[in-house]
Symmetry: D2
Subunit: 347 residues, 4 copies
């Protein structure tokens, strides 16, 4: 697979680990440390998150984005509850029933919405007919937002606040799937607090793997009371690592000197370059505005085949003949790679 | 925690990653690779296991021993089933209900037995009164053996075969928790096939983390038909890594040139040295024969306190005043560390 | 509640037990009988179903429609599976997550469709994008049809066959929620086999409670192999009655001399009378064709309030000001009650 | 099965419904009533329980003893929790994993104890090594007591209080499986409050089916806060009856004029007569003191066979050649039946 001719636009999780995090893993690898998070690195890691967000919090490393999402949701949702989410969300489409499993059988309640985004009025309308308090119906328990969305678009801080306000009024917890949170913060130019706890988010999946880490996400609880039983649920889910320090070391290095934002800003810039290049070629349809590190574009089948032969990695979404292509840039995408792609498309 | 004064007898999972595996991780870290196991390293890893065991198999990397155990058991046990296991087993005592979670509510049926070992006659007797076919009772579905046991003892190949024969006759699947399988193979001097598929094991948790890996175990299915739905269960359990190749790379390096056996043999030798040293001091009670890399010994409270002050890491099991100490050696335990421990105990 | 002034159009399950079934319960009540279905009445009941359907089958009494549905579905759907159903179906809207609970976390995949009905092409289209075999996605496992639908409409036999044919081709089991199956058979004038096993149904919830029984439904397995583990799942769900014979006695009497069809035909006729009476009054909007024993009509708020004051029981669906009224007739609805209702509406 | 020659000592749930409850069912059967417990009879039934216990409470009818037990336990036990119970308890041996299912995977922690009874010191000792607060271990959440025990023996009020006191100190909820609670109250001559809420019980399964009802138990919550989500869990478990009033009517009649105690006192007296008769014959070994309505005795195989040929229904526990016979009397056991049994044994 390590073929020099292969150029990755398939996914940001197909990229390798960035050098700073690889170095952090190595640095961690000296001497013994008690397992299961009872180590100094894990303590420092949590402090780094506290400093970053500027509030009291609990931060728990896990190794997959799905684990972060579903363990977080399991803290907010009883088995007879429901989680409102966009119909295109990762928890609905791409986690093979993990949300239902970890919530012991709760239901996902799907919302539509342009550009992969839920709106506050739509949530309000759905809750109005949810049957709150009526024993025949699952009970609304949480709302899950994805930032960056599956469409590569962004929620503005005030959009998140508006949704959270509806949630709060109806007694729902607010979860954010932030597998690409770094890309959103870099793009919005806000503070990470502005789109999380200051906008009403209770539990956050803070992604690392898609932005240069080996395999690490953090589940962040801004309401520490809600974290009380998390540790038991993580262990019960078989997601407590004995050598947790290697996850913590990655997260610590990831936050240090805003490395996470730098990596994401680069990926965003590459997507912007790609998007603008495609638009400059004139005849390509972009499905969504390019706001982070993902570009959705329609290409002809011959172009798709040419790109594949040339060694570019990417996904065709839906029927191949419709030519809907998803292009994801990452921390190590280069301008040369983007240029090469554009030249293949445009030639 | 990386305190030079700290000497680890607490657990083999408190040891760092061995250099060969750290190198394998680095070597893997060049260029992109498709995620979720669709990479060359993962394919090579599975071939390495096929070569090692000398039979067709499926090998799936996961990151925790608990995940390996409970995902394996979930393939063998319906929700109304039961898993027979030793009352001291890890799945019963140390996994916070993960077996019940992943089997959707199956029951663990506990067996006693000296030195942490189940016997075939005891299993036979328990199955005789299990209520097979009677709707009021959970239905026997699997037996889980631990090799090395929680007491640091070993099953001989013929003991495993005898248990498997009972299981087979009663329609039970056979699972082996091999978190320390390497230590058992190194100690028994047999082939790994002799104590697994040739002795009737269907599904194996093949441990890496306690023997020098960062965080990786393999779930091995010798009956590939039983693996059919494993991939969905792994994903649903949030245990499918996008960057799976970094787990696969560790496993590949772990098997190469019998590295896994060399690391384990060293740990075993250090435990033997420790055990013999304690016995030579005359007045210490060993709870179990030292057959692998764990020593259980009774020490006086003043000695325990002296050792703790000197920076030795270890666990006191049960009430402190009873002085039951567990000492675990690992791939990087040194003769000097053992000598130093013995001199503190004996002085 | 037993208020002579109260006239029930609220639900067919608000009606009392019909005399023949009450008599059957009394007749059963002499002498002892072994519990849990090991009694003669239960054996006779199963034979009655075999005779009715004209094929080998297994018939299991349970006490609620939800239990019948979700236990049936649990036999067809793995925890990482999905059940396709109409977005208005009872299993989606009115069972408080019981399907997710009994399937250990499977997902309901919702289909739209006029008059509360799924179409074969829509199912086909949904399955085409379901991600069969891809580990990230839940796996299509079953289709659930409701006959009579929640809208009071009917599937024709060939519509059911067409859906089953799609299901068969994609490896899905076919479940039918027949809480009001009697009403459909009475209305269609077909045999019950024509809309069940002959049309491809594998597992059937055969309703009794809404048509004159006290509390009993039968789960019918036409594919007896699929029944193999049902008995364990029923017990595990706490739905195996010790005094099961009182449920069986009801079902036996229900089938005898086509009592079930007679009761349903009467209810249907009353709904038809009601529907025609409303239409004759000219200015009422019926939401769906009246094909069984349910009428959906829009009434003005003043009329609704007049009816409520007069002691009529019925439900207003959705916001009261929209005036969407659901009227359900039952085995003991009288022409006088219908006439009285119509006169209140029309005056 | 309604064979005049069959005399039931098999189980109190093999007896028919007592006339007063059959009458109550008939009396209920006039006119419509809103479903799912929104009826007057259900309200009166709850008031009857409030009057009986002399305290505020919530009372929920369900149809099986298993449903009562496991729904009650599900309110006290998180999925990573454990329920302490006797190793012979019904929830451990006879509910096919329903406790694990309804608690979403909690573990039963087994206690030994003579005559089927847990002792406070044994519970204290077990909790001392339970690993409270340690993430690797399931967390103690509840204790479940059975009154009358599976051995036909009784807890004295002060024994229950002592156990509850330990539970309270360790933060455990107290559940009582009272499938035969009536027999215990009749035998102890205390008030029902004395062995339930006044002795520290939080949630009670109040049995009816084994003492003359058709199929009804009540789940009683003395701590109403713990009942808050019960209604959703009952519906999700498919245990909410639409025609709930027929269950409520039975319970109301059961409590009226102390019918429940009269029925139980009769059954107890018959067991006493049987036990004394067996002892008077001199050579029979009783396994437990006869304190309620169950007698355990060893009989020779020829005697067992003679009894079976004569049409007596009873269970042989364990291997037939050991001759351990369980005899259960019920509300309709007669002196003649007991005499006839004794004459067959003694002849």
């Amino acid at each position: 697979m390590k073929d020099a001719m292969r150029i990755n636009f398939a996914s940001d999780n197909a990229a390798p680990v960035c050098p700073e995090l690889m170095q952090a893993i190595q640095t961690e690898n000296t001497g013994p440390a008690l397992g299961y998070g009872n180590d100094d690195t894990t303590r420092r890691m949590e402090q780094s998150f506290t400093d970053l967000f500027g509030c009291d919090l609990k931060a728990y490393p896990v190794a997959t984005g799905t684990a972060a999402n579903v363990l977080g949701l399991s803290m907010m949702t009883p088995p007879y509850g429901s989680v409102y989410c966009h119909e295109l969300s990762h928890i609905q489409l791409d986690e093979c029933g993990a949300p239902e499993f970890f919530t012991d059988g709760a239901k996902l309640a799907l919302l539509e919405g342009g550009n992969g985004k839920i709106t506050a009025p739509d949530l309000e309308a759905a809750l109005a007919v949810s049957g709150r308090g009526v024993v025949h119906h699952v009970q609304p328990a949480a709302i899950s937002l994805t930032q960056v969305t599956e469409c590569g678009t962004l929620y503005e801080p005030d959009e998140i606040s508006a949704i959270s306000e509806v949630a709060r009024r109806h007694g729902l917890g607010v979860h954010m799937d932030g597998a690409r949170l770094a890309n959103s913060v870099a793009a919005l130019g806000c503070s990470v607090a502005d789109i999380t706890w200051k906008a009403g988010v209770d539990v956050l999946s803070f992604g690392g793997t898609k932005n240069g880490a080996m395999s690490v996400e953090a589940v962040i609880f801004f309401d520490q009371a809600k974290a009380a039983e998390f540790e038991f649920r993580r262990k019960r889910g078989a997601h407590l690592f004995s050598k947790l320090r290697y996850l913590s070391a990655q997260l610590e290095a990831y936050l240090k000197n805003d490395l996470w934002l730098g990596l994401a800003a680069h990926a965003n810039a590459m997507a912007q370059r790609l998007s603008e290049g495609l638009q400059a070629q004139g005849n390509h349809h972009l499905h969504y505005p390019t706001q982070a590190n993902i570009v959705f574009v329609t290409l002809s089948v011959p172009v798709i085949e040419k790109l594949e032969r040339a060694g570019f990695l990417f996904y065709v979404m839906g029927p191949r003949e419709e030519g809907q292509v998803r292009l994801v840039t990452s921390w190590n995408t280069t301008e040369e790679e983007v240029n090469l792609f554009l030249s293949h498309v445009g030639s």
